[in-house]
């Protein structure tokens, strides 16, 4: 039996330990905010926090997630108003939105470790999150704005 915490709630899982965390989040817990994009850690759409670190949930097995604290886009803030989400709305970042949960989780993780990231640090941290609509400029602007808001 695998025990883990998802968005602050204790969960136990007795299925296949090699099952990707993303499958568990989406299909078992019905948390569909994290997206499947490539299933191979190439696009970043499935990014969640595992013990506070941005992690590709499609490549994380349930065995790896055992005993960990997982946060998804649904649990980033109980009112959906994390500073990153707030500026994301102010700056109108998303177009289709499919990659945005991953982008937001990656950005929130970056800002947890670096209060004032430079352009280069933003580009490096966000390089694994692909946006087909090409919202990169707005993402970078939003991260800078959020950095000002997170104290």
């Amino acid at each position: 039996m695998i025990q883990l915490k998802v968005n602050g709630v204790e969960q136990s899982f007795d299925g296949e330990p090699e099952m990707p965390l993303l499958w568990y989040l989406r299909d078992v817990l019905d948390l569909t905010g994290s997206k499947f994009g490539c299933g191979a850690g190439l696009c970043g759409a499935c990014t969640v926090h595992v013990n506070g670190q941005a992690t590709r949930s499609c490549l994380t097995t349930m065995r790896d997630a055992a005993g960990k604290e997982v946060t998804t886009i649904e649990g980033l803030d109980k009112d959906g108003l994390h500073p990153v989400q707030r500026v994301w709305m102010e700056i109108n970042v998303p177009q289709c939105g499919y990659c945005q949960a991953g982008q937001i989780m990656q950005a929130a993780s970056l800002l947890n470790s670096k209060k004032k990231p430079t352009d280069q640090e933003i580009d490096e941290a966000m390089a694994g999150n692909i946006c087909r609509c090409g919202t990169y400029q707005r993402i970078r602007a939003a991260i800078k704005a959020a950095a000002g808001e997170m104290t």
Binding site: E16, E18, M19, P20, W23, R26, D30, L31, T32, G33, S34, K35, F36, C38, G39, A40, T72, I73, E74, G80, Q85, W88, M89, N92, V93, P94, Q95, C96, G97, Y98, Q100, A101, I104, R132, C133
Partner: protein, 239 residues
């Protein structure tokens, strides 16, 4: 990983389009299978004033606008309803956009070819103009003034000469008793009078998009449905 397969953009997109298309077709067949019972009627269908399949107005002033196409990431779900709201002179904050399922009454629902604004711009304007005219006629009747002297302002009908005004919600019940005007009777607003179109409105779904609440084709689930799929391992590496 031993092998990386190159999935072209086109193939990737095709998968998404099929997923979204399945939603629309699904509703159609559900309707047929359920013996014509309209399980997927919209709130617009049940609104007090419902002169078009694309919109309805309730006495509390809520304007329901139906997005008849699948959202494919180009914000059609915002843009087409916005055209209706503009022509209706509705307050966008009081508009609720609802997603239509597949139904021939909406006309072509294919979401392809980048043509839905071109193909549906006039239809959307006519839907908004129809409701606006009926609201103005209802107000004119109530105030005993010629309808031609009434005009719309944001979510209200006004008669400037007598300084009277009535909200769309208040007028909905009376307007619903009037005959739906013919297309030739409609007077479309000049483009310069628009409030929303071309003014940089944000997506209706913006909040849903940043909180993970937006439902994409892949997220849709029906517990009562049998979903056909090919037999395969549940995930890569499973036995």
């Amino acid at each position: 990983m031993s092998q990386i397969e190159n999935v072209s953009r086109r193939r990737f997109l095709t998968g998404g389009i099929i997923a979204a298309g399945a939603l629309v077709l699904g509703g159609r067949y559900y309707r047929k299978l359920s013996g014509g019972k309209l399980a997927h009627d919209t709130n617009a269908d049940h609104a007090t004033l419902h002169p078009s399949v694309y919109l309805g107005i309730d006495p509390d002033g809520t304007v329901w606008i139906v997005a008849s196409r699948s959202e494919m990431g180009t914000t059609s779900r915002t843009t087409l309803p916005l055209v209706v709201a503009d022509e209706l002179d509705a307050d966008w904050k009081r508009v609720k956009v609802e997603q239509a399922l597949g139904d021939s009454r909406y006309g072509d629902q294919n979401t392809d070819g980048s043509h839905w604004i071109r193909s549906f711009y006039d239809t959307m304007r006519q839907a908004g103009a129809t409701a606006r005219l009926m609201l103005m006629q209802a107000a004119a009747k109530q105030w005993d003034v010629p309808a031609t002297e009434c005009e719309s302002d944001l979510h209200v009908v006004v008669h400037r000469a007598t300084n009277r005004r009535a909200g769309y919600g208040e007028l909905a019940t009376a307007a619903a008793k009037l005959p739906v005007p013919k297309r030739e009777e409609l007077k479309l607003k000049p483009k310069s009078a628009g409030r929303y179109v071309g003014k940089g409105q944000v997506s209706y779904d913006l909040e849903a998009l940043v909180t993970g609440k937006a439902i994409y084709g892949m997220d849709a689930a029906w517990t009562a449905w049998c979903m056909p799929r090919w037999s395969t391992r549940p995930f890569s590496g499973a036995k």
